[in-house]
Point group: C3
Chain length 258, copies 3
Amino acid sequence: MSKPDIGLPHRSPKPRTSGRTNLIDKGVGLGMVSDILESSGDYIDLVKLGWGTAMVDPVLDRRIALYKEHGIDVCFGGTLFELFQMKGMLEEYASWLGRLGIDWVEVSDGTIELDAAVKHAVISRLKDDFNVVSEVGSKDSSAIIAPAKWVAAIKSELDAGASYVILEGRESGTAGLYRPSGEIRMGLIEEILDAGIPAESLVFEAPTKTQQTYMIDLLGPEVNLGNIGFTEATALETLRLGLRSDTLMKFHGGDDRN
Amino acid sequence: MSKPDIGLPHRSPKPRTSGRTNLIDKGVGLGMVSDILESSGDYIDLVKLGWGTAMVDPVLDRRIALYKEHGIDVCFGGTLFELFQMKGMLEEYASWLGRLGIDWVEVSDGTIELDAAVKHAVISRLKDDFNVVSEVGSKDSSAIIAPAKWVAAIKSELDAGASYVILEGRESGTAGLYRPSGEIRMGLIEEILDAGIPAESLVFEAPTKTQQTYMIDLLGPEVNLGNIGFTEATALETLRLGLRSDTLMKFHGGDDRN
Amino acid sequence: MSKPDIGLPHRSPKPRTSGRTNLIDKGVGLGMVSDILESSGDYIDLVKLGWGTAMVDPVLDRRIALYKEHGIDVCFGGTLFELFQMKGMLEEYASWLGRLGIDWVEVSDGTIELDAAVKHAVISRLKDDFNVVSEVGSKDSSAIIAPAKWVAAIKSELDAGASYVILEGRESGTAGLYRPSGEIRMGLIEEILDAGIPAESLVFEAPTKTQQTYMIDLLGPEVNLGNIGFTEATALETLRLGLRSDTLMKFHGGDDRN
């Protein structure tokens, strides 16, 4: 049955390049995957198989196939890239992704040290075969990187060929963009945007509702958000559309009764 | 196989008017719904489709049908009522609920401002077609409403025709009955009960175990509790029956070995 | 498709006596059980049906059968033992477990007071029919038991016939081994290990990632961990193998490129 027309904000249809919702799959059962895709599939653009879970997944091929059948991009966690990179096995990694039919790859240095020039070379190498998403920011919650360094890293990685740059938040929302308490580093986000980097090229990791609300308040319903909990895509969609208390007045509070 | 008779507190069977457990469904998959209903259905009285999730649910009709088949009441979140009310579309809302076969409606003003007289008129209008649940308390965690105002609002809304009044706690347990830290406003709860309002007319939103335990300690196993997490109905039932550490001694600590 | 050989730490295959992962099932649906077992079953050794959930489970027999079919041990929560013990119904409890085909039993005194001699006698009685797991530590987060008392209790319960001793952490990780904030009582853990108790005889309750990481850092991938969240077995396995940021450098940071 069709829903009443209440006047919702515009959302791009899938496949979309803005307003993307990227989930994190920590190794849930495939029944759960099918189940979520039926009710929330339209609100999911990419699923990241968290960190190295792919390495211990006995049903990896079927998992990837399920997502692709539903028009959802699949990507492994950046930590898995870091492990292969650290072992000098980048080509083995790329070849494995290729055999699995995966089109996206995340290049990060949240845990290992990676010289900027090496990171750029890796992005440049992988962009021939994949959509590359690079990640900026440390997973170490005590590492406070200055805004100017974030800006420089983001710009140079986009120049090297990354389709998107992810701004680190971890699964817990307690590092990178966020203080260990989960509080948002608002000044950092402002400096990144003020530097002229287009928001459409960024994916903000925002696992908590407070963090999601802040980014939607700042950048609107079409902001790209990542590390969304596996069962939270529908809840996030309601935040984007002003269908939850936190954003109701923002999107519907004007005099739109006329 | 039957369970040993260990002597559990009395619980009303379904359909019941006291000791109700109201879950919140944030848009889970329908496989998960069926699955939970098989193992916990006897412990679930009403499911609220959280805030405006119903507006973006591609399987809404089947979701409602599933709950009704299992003898579980369905209600939309109060925020969705507030959106339609704010847009001057109350009758469209009521008509939509009617077409969906929904018997319950929540009337709240947790986000929008609603004059008390208007709220009472809405309750009075909707009670002809629905079981009305009205909600008292703000979703704004910094809004501390005085106990006397809670009491007056609850009494007048019951007089206007509400079947139950819900005491706000949010999905997170950090507003209304609770301080932003989740701490219980015990004095507030006492004043409400001391004012002679029957606990059977109230539904206490209590998403955390600490909050559930407090209410069961205070009012016994037959207290009505709301905003229970979707997978928590069985865990709550064990709290009600003294089958968990937190309430074990309360219900089984007396000299009942004789 | 086989995974690339990246050089992972050794893990014992199932059935195993070290490196065990014990989950807690709070009464999830059976569809969810089957689903998790397909993708994570190799990483699960025992499932505890939390506290007294078994008493209100309408599908208890099928639940037990599902786990056993997948080579996973089943145990009821210690709180349920305490209830039967307190009511003087130990033999009814043992007989019920026998009829259900359950091979494991937990003996605890986290909530009730149990004289040490009585606890030893119970362990001794039950070890004839079951694998006994005894638990040390209080569920009361304000009860700080001195390390020497932990050591004495653990030693005497192993002597009485317990196969493993569980060190209490609660489902929330806020009691026993942990302060109410979740912080780890590191000195306590050190004293227990320094007393010559073999780590292979212990199961550390560690529901949070921080707690799991600490124990793996201290004792390696083959530490026995309990009270793991129902959907967290795969995530824990990646921690054990250095496939997540938190343990990546520990297991892969050496010069193992040669």
